[in-house]
Amino acid sequence: MSRVEAALRDLRLADTLAARDTPLARIDARAKVVVTLAFLVAVVSFDRHAVAALLPFALYPAVLAVRGDVPARWLGRKLLIAAPFAVAVGLFNPLLDRAPMLAIGDATLSAGWVSFASILVRFALTVAAALAVVAGTGMHTLCAALGRLGAPRIFTAQLLFLYRYAFVLGGEASRMGTARMLRGGARAPSLAVYGALAGHLLLRAFERAERIHRAMVARGFDGEFRSLRAARWTGADTAFVAGWCGYFAAARAVDIPQGLGRLLTAGIP
């Protein structure tokens, strides 16, 4: 099952990226979560025709990517893969909204195209920021941060289990799929075969979960999930939050590119 393999490879890559010691990884995960949320809210709060005004926000994912040593090609590829829904829906804007809006020389651009461009920019910004943060933060660190920010313990605990065993079950699924394909041809299996294939995978999942529970009990598990070391909040983390939120506030309140453009085109009649 090449899809499973590809997905697992992606997960592994993100995990490997996050495991390195980069400046981004050293920032407390809570700070990163809070700032990213502020970023997302700020970006989507623009009106639908804002395009240039959104661009200063590109600084955040750009800085995250370089400080987290995230490969640009990886980021670009994931952006492309994630694009279809937003692009497909956004494409209706130019079709439905033909009121003229921008004029450069003799050409006019309809509001629909402007709002479509806005959708594309929003998409790039929000997805890039999310990916850059994830690539710079390990899953267990992220879950611990979510827990401390108020997410229910049961949620974060089983999220960690999910992540941990996605590789194991994904590997089993991949091997079963290959074995089936070698005996059944390259077409997708019929519903009956699928029921047996996925059904066996599911049964094995149940049995594995029982064994895991036994292993946990054997090491003294009593229902309470305890963690090793609480991450400490440092001055760098406060500076991170304050600095970026301040920048988002400024960029949201003031249309920086417009002002910059006016400065640069001041001489043009």
């Binding site: 899953m139 879950c143 992540y163 065993y165 064994r211 292993a215 009990v217 305890r226």
Partner: protein
């Protein structure tokens, strides 16, 4: 004669679907002994270890660890004294990183953070996996996973170690490291295994199981010399055994 550390008396157990697994098992193991439990698949080896640790409850008979009978009520206490290494290390390494996984046991014991970290470090160093501390389990090799699983158990400082097929799936070098490691432990050990050569190298005493019963209980030499016994129990003498 010192008190037995691990004792089983007439253990009986059948799985919910009726499959009998233990059919009256009795033996005594003394402190410091290194005992192998061998037998064909389905003979009851794994079930015996689970019963000794309170992870399955026998329908008849009793198991004791030291003075403490193994019952659902005493399970927590038993788990503090007995360490169990599972057959599939993936079942045991369920935390996100090696360090967190080895710390799981000590944290459940309620130890302070500094003590936990000290134990984690010591356990990882004992098994030679200190360099893997920050690694995620899925990125470990079979031998590394086994080593980390053992470290996770060692960190609880048990007096008895139960190991289920510890050398299964290991390459020769990892297997040799495992044997060296087991020989360095002073814990009381019960090892359920198919690997009769490992038994030769690490265990002084062998329990042979067949159909849920102890068929023989003696030194390795006595057991491996008995061709009829081995045939009856669907076993062969180890490759390293010379008459």
């Amino acid at each position: 004669m010192s008190h037995p550390l691990v004792e089983a008396r007439g253990l009986r157990f059948a799985y919910p679907d009726g499959t009998p697994a233990l059919d009256g098992v009795s033996f005594r193991v003394h402190a410091g002994e290194s005992v192998a439990v061998v037998g064909a698949n389905g003979a009851g080896k794994s079930t015996l270890l689970l019963a000794l640790n309170g992870l399955v409850t026998p329908s008849a008979g009793e198991a004791r660890i030291g003075e403490v009978p193994v019952t659902p009520a005493t399970r927590a206490q038993i788990h503090r004294t007995v360490g169990y290494v599972f057959q599939d290390a993936d079942d045991q390494l369920f935390m996100a990183t090696v360090r967190e996984d080895v710390a799981f046991g000590p944290l459940n014991l309620g130890l302070a953070a500094a003590e936990v970290e000290a134990r984690v470090q010591a356990a990882l160093e004992t098994v030679g996996a200190a360099h893997l501390a920050g690694r995620a389990p899925y990125r470990l090799s079979g031998g590394e996973k086994r080593a980390v699983a053992i470290a996770g158990v060692l960190a609880m400082q048990p007096s008895v170690l139960l190991l289920d097929e510890p050398s299964a799936g290991l390459d020769p070098a990892s297997r040799r490291r495992l044997i060296t490691l087991l020989n360095s432990f002073s814990h009381t050990k019960l090892v359920a295994t198919h690997d009769l050569d490992l038994v030769l190298d690490t265990c002084s005493r062998v329990l042979v199981m067949r159909d849920g019963r102890i068929e023989a209980d003696g030194t390795a030499a006595a057991v491996f010399s008995d061709a009829a016994l081995l045939a009856r129990c669907h076993l062969e003498p180890p490759l390293g055994w010379r008459q």
